[in-house]
C-alpha cells in the first residue's frame, strides 16, 4: 500500500479540505501512475502514446485518466494472472460489454479497509444490526452473481445479524422486518439498499405500516434514473422517508465498480463528498478541460485505492457539477458533487437499417 493512502486513512474520513488533500493525493496518484506504467503493458502504451510518456503531474488535473469504457474493451491489470484474486464486473444489460476489474488480495484488503473507514463516518465504530432492502436470493447463487448481488454482499460485511426486507420475488417480507425491529429493542441499526429498491420496494410497500425507523441509518446508492422518471428528487426521497418512518439519517453515495471501495458520501447540502483518499474533477464536455465549480461537465474520479489495476484516475460517463461549501464543518470537506445523470448516449448512424429491425 502506498504511504499516501496510509496517511489519508488516518484522519476523520471525509474531513479534509481541498487544500489539505491536494499535495498528498498528487504524490500518491503520481506514484500509482508510475506503478501501473511499470506493471501494466496496455496502460504503459496508452501513457506513452496519448500522454507523452510518464511524467509526474504538477496538478491533479494533469494526472492521466482512462475513460471508464476502456475497462470494458481492455483487460487492465498490474498484477500477474496468478495474483488476481477476484474479477469484479459491472452491471450491464444482456449482450453489452461489462467492465472487468481485477483485484489481488492486497488491493482487496485495501478496498475493504477504506470502505470500512468511510462507512464508520456515519455508522460509528461498532457493527450494527443490518436490514438489507433486498432479498438474500440476489447473492445466494454464485453463478448468477450480479453487480447488485456483489454490492449487497460487499456492504453486508459492515453490519451484523442481517435481515432481508424482500422475498426472492421482491415482494415485501413484513414478518421479517417486524421480527428484525422487535429484536432491536430500540437500538441503532443499519439499512442498505439500492436507491430504486428502497423507494419502490420499501417506501411504497411499507409506508402504511407505521414502522418506527428513527434509530436507523440508511445508506443507499445506484442511480436516480428510474426515480427521475417518476419525478422523485433526492429532497423528496429524504422528506418522504422521514415523514413515513421517522428515518432521518439517510446517506446516498456515488461509486462505481472501477473504483470499488471509494464512495462519495452524501453530506451537508445533499452533496456527495469524496473521502480523504479521493477527489473529483469535472471536465467541460467540449474542451475536456477542468470546469469551474458550478459548471456542469463529465465527472473524473481520482482515488488512491486501485493498486492492482490502473483505475486511480477514471473519466466517467456521468455528468455532474462541483459545489464549494462555505463556512467550516469539521466533519466534512469543503467540496462535493451533484450527479446530474448519464451522458446521453449517442451513436452515429451506420449504413445498415436491417439489423434489429427484422420481424
Amino acid at each position: 500500500m502506498i504511504p499516501e493512502l496510509d496517511e489519508a486513512l488516518a484522519g476523520a474520513p471525509y474531513s479534509w479540505r481541498e487544500s489539505d488533500r491536494e499535495q498528498l493525493l498528487l504524490s500518491g496518484l503520481n506514484r500509482l501512475t508510475e506503478l501501473h506504467y511499470e506493471k501494466c503493458v496496455p496502460y504503459r502504451r496508452i501513457i506513452d502514446g496519448y500522454w507523452d510518456g510518464l511524467t509526474a503531474a504538477a496538478h491533479l488535473a494533469e494526472v492521466p485518466y482512462l475513460p471508464v469504457s476502456n475497462f470494458k474493451t481492455q483487460l487492465l491489470q498490474s498484477v500477474s494472472d496468478a495474483d488476481v484474486r477476484v474479477t469484479l464486473t459491472s452491471s450491464g444489460t444482456t449482450g453489452q460489454a461489462v467492465s472487468r476489474v481485477r483485484l489481488d488480495s492486497a488491493t482487496s484488503t485495501i478496498q475493504q479497509r477504506a470502505l470500512a473507514n468511510s462507512l464508520m463516518h456515519v455508522l460509528g465504530k461498532s457493527r450494527l444490526p443490518m436490514l438489507v432492502v433486498d432479498t438474500d436470493a440476489v447473492f445466494k447463487d454464485p453463478k448468477k452473481m450480479s453487480a447488485r448481488g456483489a454490492g449487497v454482499l460487499g456492504l453486508m460485511r459492515y453490519g451484523r445479524d442481517h435481515s432481508f426486507a424482500l422475498t426472492p420475488e421482491l415482494e415485501p417480507d413484513f414478518a421479517a422486518v417486524d421480527a428484525f425491529l422487535d429484536r432491536l429493542n430500540g437500538g441503532a441499526f443499519f439499512m442498505f439498499g439500492f436507491t430504486f429498491m428502497v423507494w419502490a420496494k420499501f417506501y411504497e410497500q411499507f409506508r402504511s405500516r407505521n414502522l418506527d425507523l428513527s434509530n436507523g441509518i440508511l445508506i443507499h446508492s445506484g442511480g436516480w434514473k428510474k426515480l427521475v422518471e417518476q419525478a422523485v428528487s433526492n429532497e423528496q426521497f429524504r422528506r418522504r422517508l422521514g415523514e413515513s418512518f421517522g428515518l432521518k439519517r439517510i446517506y446516498n453515495f456515488y461509486g462505481m465498480v472501477e473504483q470499488i471501495g471509494t464512495i462519495f458520501l452524501e453530506g451537508p447540502g445533499g452533496l456527495l463528498y469524496p473521502p480523504n483518499f479521493a477527489d473529483v474533477i469535472v471536465r467541460d464536455t467540449r474542451t475536456f478541460e477542468p470546469a469551474a465549480p458550478g459548471q456542469p461537465g463529465l465527472i473524473q474520479v481520482l482515488s488512491l485505492l486501485p493498486h492492482s489495476y490502473p483505475g486511480h484516475s477514471v473519466l466517467t460517463e456521468d455528468l455532474g457539477v462541483i459545489e464549494v461549501r462555505s463556512g467550516s464543518n469539521a466533519e466534512w470537506g469543503d467540496r462535493g458533487i451533484k450527479v446530474l445523470g448519464r451522458l446521453p448516449r449517442s451513436e452515429l448512424r451506420g449504413c445498415s437499417d436491417v439489423v434489429g429491425m427484422a420481424a
Binding site: P42, I46, D48, Q74, L343, P344, L348, R349, V354
Partner: protein, 408 residues
C-alpha cells in the same frame, strides 16, 4: 398498413399496396429518353430552388448532379454502351433499399434507374433525416406534374414479413445499399427467378497525400485541401463507405510531423467555421478507441485536437481501417511508395482519394491493386461524388437489358 409517399402521402393496406405494385410492374418505359432527362432536370431545378435543400451541401451536390445537361450526358453514355445490333430496354421493376446513413443515395440510385426506364420502388429507412423527407416531397411533386406518378413508389414497409416476400417476387432488379449484414438478410428473400440483385457491402476508404506535393503547396492550396477533406469526411459524420478513415502520407520526409500537424490545424479551422460538432458521447468513444488502438499495439501515438478531430498514428493501417470511430476519427500512416498502399488493399477498400499524384502513378496503383479493392481513385474532395459506376459495378448497364436484333 404501409405508408407510401406517392402519389399522395397516405397509408394503405397490404393488398392494395400489392395491386399497385403489380400495375407498376407493367409500366417500364424506353431507356434514356428525352422525357426522362427532362423529368430529372426538373427535379434538379426544384432541389436547387428549395431553401431547405440549398442549405445542405450534400443536396446541392445532388441537385447539380441531376442537372439536365449532366443527365443528358449520362443518357448519351448509356446509349453508347449498346452495339449496332442491340436495342436498349428497361429491366422492369426495380426495388431500391437505400442505406440509413447517407440519405442522398436513394435519389442517385433511383435516378439512374429512372434513366434506365425502370419502374421503381424506393424503401425509405425509418432513420431518414427531415431533409431527405423534403427531397422525397420534391420528387413526388415532380412525378405528379409529369404524369409519372404511377411508375414510382416511395414507401416504408417492414423487413422480414410477407409483404417483403410478395413484393420482392415481382422485382426484376434489387439494389441493396447498407453493408454486409443487410445484404445478407435481404438476399435471403428471393426476387424474380430471372431478376438481378446487386448488393453494396461493407466498404471503407482512405485518402492519400503525396508528401512532397503537400510540402510545396502554398497556404491557399493547403486550405482548399483541408476544406475538401472536410467535405469528404464530415458530411455524413464520416460514416459513409467512401468517407476516408485513414490518411496515408506517401513519400519520404524529415518533417512529416510538422506537415501533418499543419493539415490538422487547417482542418480544425474548417470544422470550426462549418460549426460541425459531435455529441460529447461520440468524443468520449473516440478517446476509448484511441486507447484501444494504443493498448493493443496497433497505434503508437494519438492526439485529441478537439471533440471533432482525433488522430492516431497507426503501425498497422490495415487493422486501423477495420476499427472505426466516425465523427472525426482519423488514423494516419506513412507509406514509402504507392506500391506499399497497394499491399494493404483488400476487397473492402472502396474509394482512394488523393492529392499530389500524377495519372501514371495512380494508374499503376490501380493496376497493382487489380480489383482486390480500391474501386474508385478520385481526387480528395470527390469522395462522396456519386458516380454511375459504383464499387466497380456499371449501374446503368446493369439496370437495363440488351435486346439483340439481327435481320440475317
Amino acid at each position: 398498413m404501409i405508408s407510401i409517399c406517392s402519389p399522395v402521402p397516405r397509408t394503405i393496406d397490404a393488398s392494395d399496396f400489392m395491386d399497385h405494385v403489380r400495375e407498376m410492374a407493367k409500366q417500364p418505359s424506353q431507356p434514356f429518353s428525352d422525357e426522362l432527362v427532362m423529368l430529372l432536370g426538373t427535379i434538379s431545378s426544384e432541389l436547387l430552388r428549395n431553401p431547405v435543400m440549398r442549405a445542405l451541401p450534400q443536396y446541392v451536390a445532388l441537385g447539380y448532379w441531376l442537372r439536365a445537361a449532366a443527365v443528358r450526358a449520362l443518357a448519351e453514355e448509356g446509349r453508347s454502351g449498346f452495339g449496332p445490333h442491340e436495342i436498349a430496354a428497361a429491366r422492369g421493376l426495380a426495388l431500391h433499399l437505400p442505406p440509413s446513413n447517407v440519405d442522398t443515395i436513394f435519389v442517385y440510385s433511383w435516378a439512374l434507374s429512372v434513366l434506365a426506364g425502370n419502374a421503381n420502388i424506393v424503401r425509405l429507412p425509418a432513420t431518414f433525416s427531415p431533409a431527405a423527407r423534403t427531397a422525397v416531397e420534391i420528387i413526388v411533386d415532380a412525378l405528379n406534374n409529369a404524369g409519372e406518378e404511377n411508375r414510382h413508389l416511395f414507401c416504408s414497409y417492414p423487413y422480414g414479413g410477407d409483404l417483403e416476400r410478395s413484393l420482392s417476387s415481382l422485382c426484376d432488379l434489387r439494389i441493396i445499399w447498407g453493408g454486409d449484414a443487410k445484404v445478407d438478410a435481404v438476399s435471403r428473400v428471393p426476387i424474380r427467378p430471372d431478376g438481378l440483385s446487386i448488393g453494396f457491402s461493407d466498404r471503407h476508404s482512405l485518402a492519400l497525400i503525396a508528401v512532397p506535393a503537400y510540402a510545396q503547396a502554398d497556404d491557399r492550396i493547403r486550405d482548399e485541401l483541408a476544406t475538401k477533406l472536410f467535405n469528404d469526411a464530415y458530411w455524413f459524420d464520416q460514416m459513409g463507405c467512401s468517407s476516408p478513415r485513414l490518411l496515408g502520407w506517401v513519400g519520404a520526409s524529415s518533417d512529416l510531423d510538422a506537415l501533418s500537424k499543419d493539415l490538422y490545424r487547417r482542418l480544425g479551422g474548417v470544422i470550426q467555421s462549418k460549426s460541425y460538432a459531435v455529441e460529447p458521447a461520440v468524443a468520449v468513444s473516440k478517446l476509448v478507441l484511441t486507447n484501444d488502438l494504443l493498448a493493443e499495439g496497433w497505434a503508437r501515438h494519438g492526439v485529441r485536437y478537439s471533440n471533432e478531430l482525433q488522430v492516431v498514428d497507426v503501425a498497422e493501417p490495415a487493422v486501423a481501417l477495420e476499427k472505426h470511430g466516425g465523427g472525426g476519427f482519423f488514423s494516419q500512416s506513412r507509406f514509402a511508395t504507392l506500391a506499399d498502399v497497394a499491399a494493404i488493399a483488400t476487397r473492402k477498400l472502396q474509394t482512394i482519394t488523393h492529392f499530389g499524384f500524377d495519372e501514371d502513378q495512380l494508374t499503376s496503383l490501380a493496376r497493382a491493386i487489380a480489383g482486390r479493392g480500391g474501386y474508385r481513385i478520385v481526387p480528395i474532395g470527390q469522395a462522396l461524388n456519386f458516380a454511375p459506376t459504383w464499387d466497380g459495378v456499371p449501374l446503368l448497364s446493369h439496370m437495363t437489358r440488351r435486346v439483340s436484333v439481327h435481320a440475317k
